[in-house]
Assembly symmetry: C2
Homo-oligomer: 577 residues x 2
Amino acid sequence: MSLKRYLPILQWAPGYGRDQATSDLVAATIVTVMLIPQSLAYALLAGLPAYVGLYASILPLMVYAVFGTSRTLSVGPVAVASLMTAAALAPLAEVGSPEYLAGAVLLAVMSGLMLTVMGILRLGFLANFLSHPVISGFITASGLVIAASQLKHLFGVQASGHNLLEIGRSLWLTIGQFNGVTLLLGAGTLVFLVFARKGLKPLLVTLGLAPRVADILGRTAPIVAVVVTTLLAWQLDLESAGVRLVGEVPRGLPELTLPSLDPGLWQQLAVSALLIGVVGFVESVSVGQTLAAKRRQTIDPDQELIGLGNANLSAGLSGGLPVTGGFSRSVVNFDAGAETPAAGAYAAVGIALATMFLTPAIAYLPQATLAATIIVAVSTLIDLPALGRTWRYSRPDFGAMLATIVLTLVHSVEAGIVAGVALSIGLFLYRTSRPHSAVVGRVPGTEHFRNVLRHKVELCPRVTFLRVDESLYFANARFLEETVMDLVTRQPELQDLVLVCPAVNLVDASALESLEAINERMKDAGVRLHLSEVKGPVMDRLQDTELLSHLGGQVFLSTYEAWQRLTDRSRLDRQPA
Amino acid sequence: MSLKRYLPILQWAPGYGRDQATSDLVAATIVTVMLIPQSLAYALLAGLPAYVGLYASILPLMVYAVFGTSRTLSVGPVAVASLMTAAALAPLAEVGSPEYLAGAVLLAVMSGLMLTVMGILRLGFLANFLSHPVISGFITASGLVIAASQLKHLFGVQASGHNLLEIGRSLWLTIGQFNGVTLLLGAGTLVFLVFARKGLKPLLVTLGLAPRVADILGRTAPIVAVVVTTLLAWQLDLESAGVRLVGEVPRGLPELTLPSLDPGLWQQLAVSALLIGVVGFVESVSVGQTLAAKRRQTIDPDQELIGLGNANLSAGLSGGLPVTGGFSRSVVNFDAGAETPAAGAYAAVGIALATMFLTPAIAYLPQATLAATIIVAVSTLIDLPALGRTWRYSRPDFGAMLATIVLTLVHSVEAGIVAGVALSIGLFLYRTSRPHSAVVGRVPGTEHFRNVLRHKVELCPRVTFLRVDESLYFANARFLEETVMDLVTRQPELQDLVLVCPAVNLVDASALESLEAINERMKDAGVRLHLSEVKGPVMDRLQDTELLSHLGGQVFLSTYEAWQRLTDRSRLDRQPA
């Protein structure tokens, strides 16, 4: 049982048959065709040689097939992780230097180790700290930054930067020296890819193709662009016209790469590695769950941590960059009929073949083609209307989203995420720090007690019933102290205060301390503190505490019982609603 | 109204009469006698010249009398803030250097500004982030560190360090060179002070004094120790016997001191200033509320921020160190009958007189006397049994407390607080990240629905009712997704799923996204998602969202209505409890 949990391949491999193999092979072929240009492009985005993207698309896919729980997730380099990699490495080394490449390897290894450890310790819930507005915000902002960062390749100029401000300033200074041929090639590719995405499928369907075939043909547009522009660059010798090409790449499979063991470097990259890993995990799980649900399957998030962790570990050890489950490729994999993670392993074989035999051709691939591929791919990430939707739904969530977007745009993805997470948590604690509470009175003739502000109820001037509508914990404990003290100060006649607790699911140590303080202060003020309707588990906890042994009043099972015992029937007031 | 809010002195000064003045003067005299040795000692603890403590006990008390809302809080230097000041300044400058003193001034000014701004923005709730286990933990640990740090003065050796490890190592190396006379003097003072605290009052009562007078006499023990040991040091020329004295101090009132405007220094001290300010604020408010309650008064925490902020600002501008409301002095002030903040202003006059006329005598005061004063004072802070109480009450709270104590002891108060706060928040989010939920069925013959695991209820195999017992927000949104998908996967027959929501007080944007994802996944799996008993405010929010417009099922006002519409009465199952 436990072995099957940690090696999900044992769940499906024993029953693996010819039909499944056929489906998986078809899907793998389509995914391979998509993955070649994407992996080259995302390596370039990360500031790495393009072939590193291919390296990261071989071993990790095989490893994920063994350890992953999603049947259809397609693992490999993705845009956001590549942007974060570039931002993390920029302060450490020059793009193109051996130290830079070593940094990318170390990032993959570290985030792999971190995810694996989190998986073993079952810490998947930590990913919940990335609230939806934060994820949505930094993905939109990353898409904008990534698209902006590719403009230099389209124009054939030298520019740099890891946020909109830097990129804009750099482009402003260099845009004058644009290369006409590069721009023509890049803009042409961009127009073709946009058309392929929007208009090709309807056109093919009109021409008589089946919608599914038309859809798959549409997906091959990037590889068509790669092949055509590579041929153009080779035949027309575009390099001499100033078009920058991917250039000479090593032929053959990646070799084992050992990560740096420099503790200073580990420390410098720790936060980045954690964020890259967790961000990738959140995206993968979200895609994986969506696809699994369509077939009434499930995935195990804690095991996914192990699967993605090992995939990243193997990415680093084979000289690649951080990987995760990509959204668009996974959807294609699913739609093309992949049935098991074996499809991923087959795609890995496809990439390995490409690495062995296609690399001479890749040397002629124009960088502008890859830039156009990236821009079209990331344009789907940008969801600005989400800002409006979130604004209408919830101001605090909008605040967290806006802070994330702005900081990602003007500073970095990491700053955006950290600020967004901190703000989400802070706003949540703020929202729960002022719990709803209501003074309640008896609905005449019944055993029910309702808010005095909303209902016609009976009151007793010397006894106040205060209903608390939230669990009591450190963020709201002092607020309760203030509420109670206000009540006592405003009612000099008060002799008994009953806290009505049916909605209190938790009383933490801070709230216990506050209740004890309230109790002592009530005693000093000559008021007895009572509790009523305390839930069983909460009562079990309170049993041996000073609160109960020193309680000025009593604990009543029901509020009505407290009412009967404490109120003097001759002195009841009736309060209009 | 608003002026009275920001200047609480306007609330009490107009009606201030002779009786109140008399009470305040008596209390002020007693507090002054306590405050002189304490302020000297805490300045020394902060690594500053002793007279700086006097400077910090003049203007801040007057300023607090104008802006503070507690009638009886006694503001001035306190032990924990002084320890934190020393730790914050240690990496910046040599003890005794002008830069060190300038750092203390800047800390006071910055924490004053921060508290004032927080008060104006009504951010007092931020102090709630310091949960009780964290406060209790760092105060206990600070007490231990402070007591250990004073041993060097008792033994008359040179030692240093800001945590137990450093202090221990330093003492281990130097303890051999202890000074016998200093040890005799210090240990003698210590024994006297401990006796004064435990045994003097009963003795005086036995000798026929009224308990209240005996109590007040007991409080004067530190000043008696100061006077006696100063006379001894002067008459016997103890300095030549190797006893370290406070030494020459400037005579007269403090002059206006302007803080450094070096932005680098501000940045370095920002976190420390914030923590010193907030920790002081939390302590002050807690003391202030406790004392106010005894007379059915209240304090306004946001205005307290302004009061303490201005007090710190004035402490810095008059060359002092960070101040806050001290626990023991405030209790004495209260017990001695102080009725208004004027008592604090009178005490300030007392300290000012001491600064002008007693400083020649203070030069002969042995440092060992002050060390003994500090040790006895902080011994009341150390509450190790709290660890056991918290362990028994709640493991997560114990974890936060232990982390705070250990980090404070082996690293610093700041590290302890930051770790404790992060752990408290993390553990709370963890606790709420797995909300209780239950599949419910109908209690036969009623409109009530109860947990199928606990009650004999009717079920329908094609309709599942899932009751959610917590507000839905980012930390638990994905858990709900998993719970729901598990249900759907385990029940292939399922056609309808009803989320029963009477306990859901909030659905944030993340949870809304999760509900939308659940809805879409349900549709893909051929299951209709319904909602029932959604609270009014939550429903108002959901009204215009995609969730409702794309909901696979319906929204039912009551669960019973859903039951009637969805279940096929002929196929009901009865499930035993």
